[in-house]
Symmetry: C2
């Protein structure tokens, strides 16, 4: 049993109005010392796989197929064995 | 200059239809070995603060005020000094 933690965010060249809105809202709340704001999605999967290599390959395919729009977004992930579980 | 990495996700008691939809879509794609799916939001802020304690306090307040709905969501964050920057 493995746990995959996946972060998906816009490529730096893609305009992100949500991050811009948060940055402005922070300014209105008095937090004018914020230099940059980045917003992304975050996924946690637990999966049964024979080896960590197999889990890595599967998670990469899932990101490409389903979780990220690779035209506009980039992703990164880590896969770790789940404590106290048998594969 | 500090970097804050913030994760916001639903409390376990809150139904998450988006995670449920992803879980079902994975099944249709043939990934039937996925045990659980969790979806959350993820933020990165860079901020100027005199000390890491001040940055921690400010980020906690920002999460409570703006980034998380504390009725339905929980958050966790880490604050680290930004490499190569002067505070």
């Amino acid at each position: 049993m493995f746990k995959a933690v996946i972060n998906v965010n816009y490529k730096p060249s893609v305009l992100d109005p949500q991050a811009e809105a948060i940055h402005k809202a922070l300014g209105r709340l008095g937090d004018d010392n914020i230099a940059t704001v980045m917003v992304g999605k975050y996924f946690e999967l637990t999966l049964n796989a024979p080896t960590i290599e197999a889990a890595n390959d599967q998670v990469e395919r899932i990101c490409d197929q389903l979780l990220a729009n690779v035209n506009m977004e980039t992703y990164r992930f880590t896969v770790t064995p789940l404590q106290g579980a048998t594969a």
